[in-house]
């Protein structure tokens, strides 16, 4: 009975990852193809070895068009905001920004895979899942906001190009941090296994967990979100900067919601999975090792591969 239930949890966990990693098994979001000279994934013609489930096809098709539809509504509302800066259109603009963030985070990047991998390795609670996703998305939007504003208002040049140029550097920083974080988490896990201090209770979290959570949020979030940045740039150009800045907060909140769902799903499934195995010490150790090292190795591998890909 236990073995069967364990198998079910493994299956659900295995499904969580492809869904979380749809189209972007990495921290990077797509770059604006109209003004960048190199695509972010560097693999324009590569097909994945393993395809994603066919039942996701209609959903993916809809994600693209819904994002477009939301943005078109925002364009229309922006014109009304010019006339009445804090009227009904402003509130609708914020609402659409929230929706945009929720849908946009379902696309490539936005750290869904990393949030899942991180909580496979480290103990977590729903609160910490929300903290990681909230912090990550806040940094993700903030980095783009700062770059656009510095480019346009301080350097008096193209905000869009400032963002693109800085993204190249920030992506490498992100990948380096992720590789380092993965190595640290793997080392920490191995030390725990040697000292036989493995646990699933969040009461046993140490100071390094807070630091690693912050590093994970920084590593994933530091790459600016081009979708949010485009909305800010649009608002800036139309002279409705307060609405643009408000939209950034709403987009961050919407993206946090979506990414947080994946983090919480991982935390809950992992806890259930380990509780099932807790009665059998050998099985528990094996299950814990598999999940914890799998998460750490996943983060390291993606960080290293993306870092090499971005340098070559």
């Amino acid at each position: 009975m236990i073995v069967r239930r364990l198998a079910v949890f493994i299956l659900i966990l295995a499904l969580t990852f492809p869904i979380a990693g749809i189209g972007g098994d990495s921290a990077q979001a797509a770059r604006n193809p109209f003004i960048t000279s190199k695509r972010a994934d560097n693999t324009p013609d590569q097909q994945p070895a393993v395809g994603y489930p066919a039942f996701l096809q209609p959903a993916m098709q809809k994600i693209v068009t819904v994002q477009f539809a939301i943005r078109q509504n925002m364009v229309r509302l922006a014109g009304d905001i010019q006339q009445h800066p804090f009227g009904h259109a402003f509130r609708m603009f914020m609402l659409f920004s929230l929706l945009y963030g929720m849908v946009h985070a379902l696309g490539p990047g936005h750290g869904k895979v990393y949030a899942c991998a991180y909580f496979l390795n480290r103990p977590g609670t729903i609160k910490r899942g929300l903290l990681l996703s909230g912090l990550t998305m806040l940094i993700h939007v903030l980095s783009g906001t700062v770059l656009i504003l510095v480019g346009a208002l301080v350097l008096k040049t193209s905000g869009a190009m400032t963002l693109e140029n800085a993204s190249v550097v920030l992506e490498r920083v992100s990948y380096g941090l992720l590789a380092g974080l993965g190595v640290f988490l793997a080392g920490h896990t191995i030390m725990q296994l040697r000292a036989k201090t493995i646990h699933i209770s969040d009461r046993c979290m140490d100071a390094s967990d807070n630091k690693s959570l912050f590093v994970a949020a920084l590593a994933v979030g530091i790459v600016p979100c081009p979708g949010a940045a485009m909305i800010l740039l649009f608002s800036l150009t139309l002279g409705i900067l307060p609405a643009g800045l408000g939209a950034m907060i709403c987009i961050a909140a919407g993206m946090s919601f979506t990414t947080g769902l994946f983090a919480i799903l991982t935390i809950v499934l992992k806890q259930r999975f380990l509780v099932l195995a807790e009665g059998n010490r050998r099985l528990f150790t094996a299950a814990y090792t598999l999940l914890a090292l799998g998460g750490a190795v996943g983060i390291t591998t993606l960080g290293v591969v993306l870092l090499i890909g971005s340098v070559l």
């Binding site: 797509a30 193809p33 943005r71 485009m230």
Partner: protein, 203 residues
């Protein structure tokens, strides 16, 4: 088309307002939303260079075989109603062969998931969200059919317009249609684009 067969595929892109702002932010140095000659040149260079890695969003299959798009020609751009309009030709030389039907399939999409591409007939080249009967109506309750209603009203539903063939067409037997191209699925095979299909042979 010329007397030898297919020359290429002409495309007109109308960028949405947000993408237009982002591109003009780079090239419209005097911020007057009018492209001077220098700005036109800068935009052409930027577009040709930046979209190369993305194959100019164009996938082509000739008789079932993929033909990578590596360049574009005859690029021009202008700003119309606050939207950038690009015109260009994707070269694709397919010679007509007696007693052989040549099939060319063209789909336009951004496989990086950044840009949403919607096909539009020549006389319906805009997508207007205000056409939605419930546009920005805060009293309207959310319902499961919201997206379908919006897509139908606004014009982001599937394309069912015609494909225009120009040039030396009278010496060929030409058929065109638009179909869902499962063999051109992208984004981890998650999205099946619509493709323009043209079959031709000498008369």
């Amino acid at each position: 088309m010329d007397e030898a067969g297919l020359v290429g595929c002409h495309q007109r892109w109308i960028l949405d307002a947000m993408t237009t702002v982002a591109v003009l932010d780079v090239v419209d140095t005097d911020r007057n939303t009018v492209l001077s000659d220098d700005e036109q040149t800068a935009l052409r260079d930027l577009t040709v260079e930046s979209l190369r890695d993305f194959h100019y969003f164009t996938a082509i299959r000739v008789n079932g075989h993929s033909v990578p798009v590596k360049s574009i020609t005859h690029f021009s751009a202008e700003v119309k109603a606050n939207r950038l309009v690009y015109d260009f030709l994707v070269p694709c030389r397919v010679a007509a062969t007696p007693n052989k039907r040549q099939q060319v399939k063209v789909a336009v999409f951004d496989d990086s998931f950044y840009t949403y591409v919607a096909y539009a007939a020549e006389d319906e080249a805009t997508i207007d969200p205000s056409q939605d009967p419930l546009f920005a109506n805060r009293e309207a309750p959310a319902s499961p059919g919201d997206y379908e209603r919006f897509a139908k009203a606004v014009g982001v539903a599937k394309f069912n317009g015609k494909i225009r063939v120009t040039g030396n067409t009278q010496i060929f037997k030409i058929e065109t249609k638009v179909e869902d191209a499962a063999d051109m699925a992208y984004f981890h095979n998650q999205i099946i684009p619509q493709a323009a299909v043209m079959a031709f042979e000498p008369k």
